[in-house]
Symmetry: D2
Subunit: 434 residues, 4 copies
Amino acid sequence: MTYKNEQLHEEKVFKDPVHAYVHVRDRVIWDLIATPEFQRLRRIKQLGTTNITFHGAEHSRFNHSLGVYEIVRRIIYNFQGRPHWNNDQRLLCMCAALLHDLGHGPFSHSFEKVFKLDHEYFTQQIILGDTYVNKVLERVSPGFAQEVADVIAKTHSDKLVVSLISSQIDADRMDYLLRDAYYTGVSYGHFDMERILRVMRPIEDQVVIKSSGMHAVEDYIMSRYQMYWQVYFHPVTRSAEVILTKILHRAKQLYESNYQFKLQPTHFLTFFSGDVSLEEYLKLDESVVHYYFQLWQEEEDEILRDLCERFMNRRLFKYVEFNPNKQIGDLMRLIQLFKDAGIDSDYYLVVDSSSDLPYDFYRPGEEEERLPIHLVMPNGTLKELSRHSDIVEAISGKKRTDHKLYFPKDMIYAIQDEEIKQDIIGILFSKERI
Amino acid sequence: MTYKNEQLHEEKVFKDPVHAYVHVRDRVIWDLIATPEFQRLRRIKQLGTTNITFHGAEHSRFNHSLGVYEIVRRIIYNFQGRPHWNNDQRLLCMCAALLHDLGHGPFSHSFEKVFKLDHEYFTQQIILGDTYVNKVLERVSPGFAQEVADVIAKTHSDKLVVSLISSQIDADRMDYLLRDAYYTGVSYGHFDMERILRVMRPIEDQVVIKSSGMHAVEDYIMSRYQMYWQVYFHPVTRSAEVILTKILHRAKQLYESNYQFKLQPTHFLTFFSGDVSLEEYLKLDESVVHYYFQLWQEEEDEILRDLCERFMNRRLFKYVEFNPNKQIGDLMRLIQLFKDAGIDSDYYLVVDSSSDLPYDFYRPGEEEERLPIHLVMPNGTLKELSRHSDIVEAISGKKRTDHKLYFPKDMIYAIQDEEIKQDIIGILFSKERI
Amino acid sequence: MTYKNEQLHEEKVFKDPVHAYVHVRDRVIWDLIATPEFQRLRRIKQLGTTNITFHGAEHSRFNHSLGVYEIVRRIIYNFQGRPHWNNDQRLLCMCAALLHDLGHGPFSHSFEKVFKLDHEYFTQQIILGDTYVNKVLERVSPGFAQEVADVIAKTHSDKLVVSLISSQIDADRMDYLLRDAYYTGVSYGHFDMERILRVMRPIEDQVVIKSSGMHAVEDYIMSRYQMYWQVYFHPVTRSAEVILTKILHRAKQLYESNYQFKLQPTHFLTFFSGDVSLEEYLKLDESVVHYYFQLWQEEEDEILRDLCERFMNRRLFKYVEFNPNKQIGDLMRLIQLFKDAGIDSDYYLVVDSSSDLPYDFYRPGEEEERLPIHLVMPNGTLKELSRHSDIVEAISGKKRTDHKLYFPKDMIYAIQDEEIKQDIIGILFSKERI
Amino acid sequence: MTYKNEQLHEEKVFKDPVHAYVHVRDRVIWDLIATPEFQRLRRIKQLGTTNITFHGAEHSRFNHSLGVYEIVRRIIYNFQGRPHWNNDQRLLCMCAALLHDLGHGPFSHSFEKVFKLDHEYFTQQIILGDTYVNKVLERVSPGFAQEVADVIAKTHSDKLVVSLISSQIDADRMDYLLRDAYYTGVSYGHFDMERILRVMRPIEDQVVIKSSGMHAVEDYIMSRYQMYWQVYFHPVTRSAEVILTKILHRAKQLYESNYQFKLQPTHFLTFFSGDVSLEEYLKLDESVVHYYFQLWQEEEDEILRDLCERFMNRRLFKYVEFNPNKQIGDLMRLIQLFKDAGIDSDYYLVVDSSSDLPYDFYRPGEEEERLPIHLVMPNGTLKELSRHSDIVEAISGKKRTDHKLYFPKDMIYAIQDEEIKQDIIGILFSKERI
């Protein structure tokens, strides 16, 4: 028996509130979970700042990664013996599922934006670099790590395997919807995953859905839609995100202007300079970020200090609806008024936009090509989902965007100059904004 | 309208996975939640190292504190208009419920043990000291903070109020059982809280239970029993706890022996010296601990480095059953053998004992006097629970203790001297230990 | 204290799997539940033949009626003290909620169709006639029964009260979606009712929804849509319904042709003759129907016997898709072929159509005027739901209809004449029907 | 491929609220479910009169039987490949599981008591007699029906197979606890079945439990205990049961005294005469019983009429605690007083006793020998559960009995003779009865 096929002496299970149990029989999977790079995901929250709004959402990416693995394990279990399914790809699928989020850092969204990083790049680095994860994978067979990396990068030649991990109805999305709904406690996000797993069928280049399961898929897409607007894009969460982003900006700017930090921000230096090594990247977990933000509450720089204090103690920015097409003049005015009042609008007046495309059919050549979901009809033909489902057709390809303008209400009310203050308040609040 | 009675313009709710919603109408409660001292609880896990075993258990003390508040709010709501209930105590009860865990630090159990701290002392300090929390409470009325502190300390003269917060069936216990069961995903820990709330009755000096609700209380006590043995005392969790404790011991010892840390452990200094100020205490959250443990993975000292690496990457100690009455000789032998092998048994051979008393009736004069649960019978008389319930009687007052011996299996198997190695292995594993 | 205001000595509760508890404090409600006319609802299934497909769906209309009452009780509880809400209408709302389905008989849909009955007419009769229910209501105040009847008939002058009981988001619909989902076990049908109750607001002539709760309402409408297509219109359930309808037709036809039943079908006589008295109507519960169907399995008449045997033992008709616009020729051919084969196509070849309109805005003058759901915006204006929700807009007013052709496959395969048999099979199965 | 091994073209599933899905792959199972004898179980409630107290408990024995089958299917799935497990017994186990309750009639408990019947006898008859079920079983192989019957009767030589179906932790009990808890909505009755299934191990003559799963078994035993006292023995349910039993007694007595029923009670005649054929037995479902009870509400005999009216309209008897050791004198007095008041105490004064033994170890020679639950320890030895579990030890072998005295309160308050009335009331209510 090779390492590739090695089974644990006895099946191990993790108690999981979403899938009841996560089952591990393969030595490879067990060993991957035990690597420091994978254990590190325990110190990175799945939903970043969402717990500021939904206090239950404190679960980590470790939690989610196990869940994605478990779903893929169950899908493959159902696939065994079916035409088109090559069971030699079993371990590849499960490893890719387990490791797909490995490159995430803390508060990825903000860090990637400010420091021009890409978690997918780091996922590749961790899998292919000098890491424990790489060693485990290469023990399977030379080149296996590269295969796993290719599946995650969607460049692997086996399109069926890729679609298991990345499609509009993949194990990743199914797990995060169910898991995030569970931890936040919202009633959206539920759908009949067991049913979807039962109607998934492998064909040569993708996973398709038996048409009798269409309604379960509709339900899944609606769940996704609701979770985006009710949870992921919640305006209060975005307020914390806005502040976080501004903290990173400020720290970088201070660094670039040779500001003397009370304690040298060692962990951040390569992020500031734009030359992050894998080793440095792996050290930066959420604890480290919190540690610095706590320190920075006592920094000399007033803006950095204030923003950190806001973030750590949840003194968030308020927001109003903002229409970028009609209100650009208002925004210009506000920037001037902030300047007059001595408030730095770069940090204290922020337009944030969120947008989501709940489902789309294939539009070749567009920025991000999305593989559509195909139903397989009783007569064996394929049909793109939105052509069969009224509900999905109705929302298909419709991007919805929400713009908000964020600002510190307390600072504005504290402006000494009564006229400036009233002008700002007038612009922000007195209009009919619905 | 005074601050004491001030209601929010509109009721605020927190979505909570356990209680559906946490409702806040009182300005005082809202303001307490917004204080930095309370927000800090977001950065302290409710169950310390339990997430090492049950990955779902990543919820914070913030989460739990809101839950306890909500339960007390509902109890009081039911009490309104009942004899013996003085609704003037409403705000006092709710504040005490919300703040009862305020003094917890990260991994309280280990920190308290190593540094001789007491979270209850710090709860008092935070409520009575120069804090945001104190300011909010004193705005209610001068002396109100002291009242809240007294309720939490169980010294308040209103015994009914005290028993709401601290008894063998209080809001604290009900919340943590339900919440910890929810986040870990175990099926133990569930009981019909709504039913218990419906059968609670205030009398002059305590909360009692209508006898028709006895079975729900039995179920609650069984849940508690199961959660202790299945979750809280899980041997793998205790392994992480053992390592954590040893890290703190080692760091303290190094400090005392004037070891030069690569980075001065500023946050820990007063803990080492035994003179922790409130300000220092409040700064030490879980992020800070993790930050240092990460740094210490690169320390010169081999023991500190190894233990931190184990803790952060989940390379835990293994364990065997240990009977302190019969096996003290084995333990002595092992200590000698470890010494011979060059392994410091102070850090690498640890007996850990857990014990629980699921319920007890009143035993005056004993170490910790426990208030029994009283049933109120149809004819109005009181009856102590264990006299009416066979199940409770069966487990009442029976302390159960579990002893385990922890050690690093990998180190032992790496011992060069084959004889010593086999001797150690022989003692640890070859006996029938069941 | 009058009977109208009389409270029970102690609140009574019913344990309910959907709402946890149903709470009763009012003597009037308690007395209504105890009437024989209301207890009779225990012997009528909420979902008629659905348990043939979803075996869990065995719950009764009694079950559902308590649930609707409970929801209205909670809505009213939230309304207390709000502008536009007249708490004098409290008891009226709760009685109407409890009694709104009182006139349902067993398998209402089929009975109403075959015997030209109307359960709403009987609801009125029971409330206004010489019944226990009427006596209880008239004790509240003379004319109160008429008021309750008017609310249920939607003719009451208080439009706000009417909209609580009958609208596109009323207590009836919320209860049946949640309840039917619970008992069938499907994952559709769930939505956050607690949230919807929190955002309901009374205005002068209707209940409206705070716009911040729009997503919960979207979720409710999607649940409704899914339950209709996944559960209520399930083709297997409809097969049982088709057979049931044909049994009633056959029995009526036999009666009209002076057929001698082995046992005189006493309970059915007035149904056959079209002159059902209230007393007769109340006697006909599901047990009685089952009793006769069991007897009729031993009748002389072959068709009645066969259909009853099919219904009782679940030997259902099979079905194929049927397009009434394109396939009328096929249907004509089949009727002729059935005749040739000696099978009575009146009973053994049935087109069944189901259609649903998940939500509609107001279209004055149309057959059934539906009151739209209105959102109340932050600035106080009202906005019709589909104008604010993309999802609802997408499905608003879109009636979807499904046609199926039902037949006994076993009978067809048993046709002796091979040519006729193959012709029938050819028409039914050989086409591409997707 | 023989019928025995024949698999369905595609797996069929039943949506089940308790087990999510019931899976059927074997043609034999599918055919058994389709038999009229099995479909008949849809018309027999699992919990008889319990829905009078817990309105949700309207589920049928059909429902439960599918559940037991599904649990056995899962257990066997886990057993595959394990030592001691002979997979040839697979179909035998599943058939026995599915059919174990086949002989139940409506309200079995009362019918068996009054008419001296035994549902186990009828289960044997249905399996071995001239039935559809028998035909399906005999197609598997000649003698297979007898094997199934032997497993259910616990006389089969394969003790391992028997213990899967009938032991103190069998599939039957696990399903009914979970299912009855689900439908009633009570929070008792939940335990971690998935965990128990994972720790079940086949040995030569029984199913044992890995000791690491002991706590899950404790939880199961406590659930059973709570369900008995909270649900199954609920005094209100027993009141309905008492009345039902008295109806049957009265009807039998009238029959024996040649009373002329308005409609000849055809279905009951052989029950009255004590000579029930299988054919007659199968016809008597709950609908038929309800049909007669409705008719009997219009009978001449006052007692029969009154009792039926009480049963159908839920006008139940009230109850008080009764101590048969101390209160036999009171009972004698009451009987005399009832006689004086002209109330037939045979029908209107009933002592009802319920008792339960939550778990017992093996006591050879006792009335009903119960097989104990054995744990298998890490070293492979077996240990009886109560020797390892404090909780189980505490309740093991302790029979608990509850006695109540039932009577129609309304009749007593309607007694004309004031002295007799007060005497009765005095005995029933004025004592301290707690």
